[in-house]
């Protein structure tokens, strides 16, 4: 079983829609969860991180962790074409980041 599972997509939604991106993880010991955004030919860039369960909001982005179901979510409100990218969920063990495969997101103008 992979440590972090993520549907690679692609996911296409119209501009202005709410986007929901999801991951599951296998190890209940994981505490920190991150979302990275990666544009084409660029490296991953940290978008948000959360500790343990709960929600965290930053502008149009909300990260949610449900430890009881080992489920990680990222919601994007009022999606924009500039949000088109690959979104990677991740966790950390020691100093290692464990990534999901990433979901390719296309926001259609």
């Amino acid at each position: 079983q992979k440590e972090v599972e993520q549907d690679p997509g692609p996911l296409s939604v119209p501009e202005g829609a709410i986007v929901s991106l999801n991951c599951t993880y296998s190890n209940s010991a994981f505490q920190y969860f991150m979302w990275y955004r990666q544009y084409s030919r660029k490296g991953p860039e940290l978008l948000m991180y959360t500790y343990s369960s709960g929600n965290k909001e930053d502008g149009r982005f909300t990260a949610q962790v449900d430890k009881s179901s080992k489920y990680i979510s990222l919601f994007i409100r009022d999606s924009q074409p500039s949000d088109s990218a690959t979104y990677l969920c991740a966790t950390v063990t020691g100093d290692k980041i464990i990534f999901g495969k990433g979901t390719r997101l296309h926001i259609l103008p």
Binding site: V4, K42, G94, D95, K96, I97, G100, K101, G102
Partner: protein, 113 residues
């Protein structure tokens, strides 16, 4: 402040050849990491330097891969001899302190033919 920079951005080599990838971390960042993404797979950890010392190299695939960070500044990752399965994108990341935000370079796309 300059970000993490990697050279080259793309390299195409023949099977059996040697390739050296370079990473310049953000100035003052003692922690340097190498990651790799092969086609269709997740980005996976290769190794971690603290200054010039290898802290964790548990992700290195085999002894054809050699990473160095002489002087604790830039790092090189050498693949010798390269095999087809080494193709992928190699990312470098750096952090100021352990547990702080990791900043990634743009990656080196390695193609072994």
């Amino acid at each position: 402040e300059a970000g993490v920079t990697q050279f080259p951005s793309h390299s195409v080599i023949e099977k059996g050849q040697t390739v050296t990838l370079r990473c310049d971390p953000i100035s003052g960042h003692d922690n340097l990491y190498w990651y790799r993404r092969v086609m269709g797979k997740e980005i996976k950890f290769l190794l971690h330097f603290v200054k010039e010392s290898k802290q964790d190299e548990s992700g290195m695939p085999n002894n054809r891969f050699l990473a160095e960070r002489t002087g604790g500044t830039y790092s090189t990752l050498k693949v010798q001899p390269a095999e087809l399965e080494d193709s992928g994108v190699y990312f470098c990341a750096s952090t100021r302190d352990r547990g702080t935000e990791a900043f990634f370079g743009q990656g080196t796309r390695l193609t072994v033919v």
